[in-house]
Subunit: 146 residues, 2 copies
């Protein structure tokens, strides 16, 4: 269920583009974006901070927060919240929910069965405008291979 958006966003392995979605790229934003595209395990801001230091030893945590906020605001990545835990970040822009596997803490993207429109199965009054849907699940996936 990986949509081919290679023509929408630049390859994270190529050269840094001048901008993405109207957001001017900087070294720090580009590396943040690259990291999320490469390691799609829904890292927290702090995870990103620790991992990104290999490439940008002088980056600050505040900058990681700034970059993530900028990327989210421009619709380049998504912010995912589980209860009151630290926010996580996801580069998958397709409509999907998140499954939190409690047996090992991993988080997985969940899509809907073909032909399903979530807004269609909801009991909402005529004329309701939905700007955002967030679906989170908790449980255990089968045959959990750590």
């Amino acid at each position: 269920m990986v949509s081919d958006d290679s023509n929408l966003h630049p390859e994270p392995s190529g050269k840094m583009p001048a901008e993405i979605n109207g957001l001017r790229m900087t070294r720090q934003r580009w590396e943040t974006y690259r990291l999320l595209m490469t390691q799609k395990d829904h890292p927290t801001a702090n995870d990103v901070f620790r991992r990104i230091q290999k490439r940008l030893p002088n980056i600050s945590l505040a900058t990681v927060y700034n970059c993530l906020e900028a990327l989210v605001k421009h619709g380049i990545v998504r912010q995912v919240n589980f209860d009151r835990e630290p926010s996580r970040f996801c580069p998958n822009l397709a409509e999907h929910g998140h499954f939190h596997d409690e047996s090992n803490g991993s988080i997985h993207d969940v899509t809907f069965k073909p032909g399903i429109d979530l807004s269609e199965v909801l009991d909402l009054p005529e004329g309701t405008v939905i700007t955002d849907i967030e679906l989170t699940l908790r449980g255990k996936l089968p045959t959990t291979k750590i």
Copy 2:
């Protein structure tokens, strides 16, 4: 879509029962429960704290948090999270999601159309165990009467 659970939980207007769902009732827990059952607008812990002082002038915020946590742990009320905002609390135990009306900040329960089982429309591997589903929407309801 209001399920008749009047036989499951005591009337919040009656006498304080010795316990609910195995949770021993105290003055503070009972008033917290009553308040949530009476004012179903999904108040935050702080909202509960401010409102409950009319009946319990000496209650502390820590106690409100303690009571809410106890009620949640015993499945008497539910905790609802919107992004990183303060948690809200909901006495509706039926399966439902939450619609956040951005035009006035109000929060409304959302049920599914009859016959819909949310776990059935998800693309999950065989054998997945779902222990909890959380659905939150943002948008505008029609003809918003402030």
